[in-house]
Symmetry: C2
Subunit: 209 residues, 2 copies
Amino acid sequence: MRSGKLEVLLWERALKPFAGSWALPGGLLGEDETLEESIRRHLAAKVDVRGLSHLEQLETLSAPGRHPETRIVATAYLGLVPAGSDPSIPEDTAWHPVDDLPELAFDHLAAVLAARERLRAKLSYTNIGFALAPPAFTIAELRGLYRAALGHDLSATNLQRILLRRALLEPTGEQRPPGRAGGRPATVYRFRNPRLEVTDQFAVLRPPG
Amino acid sequence: MRSGKLEVLLWERALKPFAGSWALPGGLLGEDETLEESIRRHLAAKVDVRGLSHLEQLETLSAPGRHPETRIVATAYLGLVPAGSDPSIPEDTAWHPVDDLPELAFDHLAAVLAARERLRAKLSYTNIGFALAPPAFTIAELRGLYRAALGHDLSATNLQRILLRRALLEPTGEQRPPGRAGGRPATVYRFRNPRLEVTDQFAVLRPPG
DNA sequence: TAGGTTTGCGACTATGAGGCGATAACCGCT
DNA sequence: AGCGGTTATCGCCTCATAGTCGCAAACCTA
């Protein structure tokens, strides 16, 4: 989450094939590592992986022609970084809004779209917001994150009640002072559990109206 | 679904490694095929794949030691066959109840458990029942399938209303005559759409009481 | 025709999402 | 100090849907 938008870290390819196109970070699987270890290893070459708040497997892409030269089967992962953390990234990488992507190499567009779908679905029935949110936040700030990730607006009242009822949030005890225009100070919350947790409620978060 | 239980087709390994253990059907990915094509090809060697009512990718298993001799990364798929269809299978394969599995080769137990979880979850928010049910059925029969797949009982009244409200079922117009003991004849239903369809309702089907 | 059995359906309850307005708690300005 | 403006929070209401219960429908056998 950067400046109110859901963004993805892309890497500009210098070599053929797809030179000049943007690609997801990744690389070849080593002899003695799992896929997740491999993802973390390749990602560590680009960003500080300690900032990674969540990592989960998506689907495996296997179309024979997906790489124009050799046969490569790729497994896509969804990795999340909390909002506000601004890790330094190399020259050849950049954040791109998911809603306004450049031309992507290979079938990486499918992977990005699958990732967004997975994220949207899990926002409704898990506590995956913890991976998107900073350590502490107000309801209004959290609403902004959910709005950007879900792609539609939602009621702050409703969001607060749902997350509190599911016991996913807890107040830190602190308050956020109001801005210039005044207003009641907002209570600061944090996610109770910093690991993925599935709710027994499956109700989707809907747009108002 | 066989005799009221959720079962999985396994293949008894003759060769090492894991000789004598049971394994999921499958095989190596060919040079010019997708994973799904490969699954269908290997499956065709065991059963009539035309009976396959659903096929979807699960997760990709990549632990370096999962094969004791070579390095093999495997992608697990969930395939479903409608109840009542009894395809002929070779000598070295057999159906095993998912709740009472023999010793499985490699990490195939993890794949089977993941498949069962995926199926249970999708029964609640998709029409995946179509892949488990025969072409036509009564509510009581469908309830039996759901009970076996979900692992718990559920109310026939509730199941009927939910599936009808979501417009997943439609009556065929026929009726099933009652058995020996009598009783009101049951209306026969079928699934409206023979392809996977995600409901906007995410409520989980709960056990009674 | 009486009694038993299974299915179907309508009425009721419970729960949680979503909407709306009142109130709380701050600001800046007069 | 008082007042209008602003933002956050909370309580109450409505609505949709899941789940429960019991009765009526429609069949059987004796």
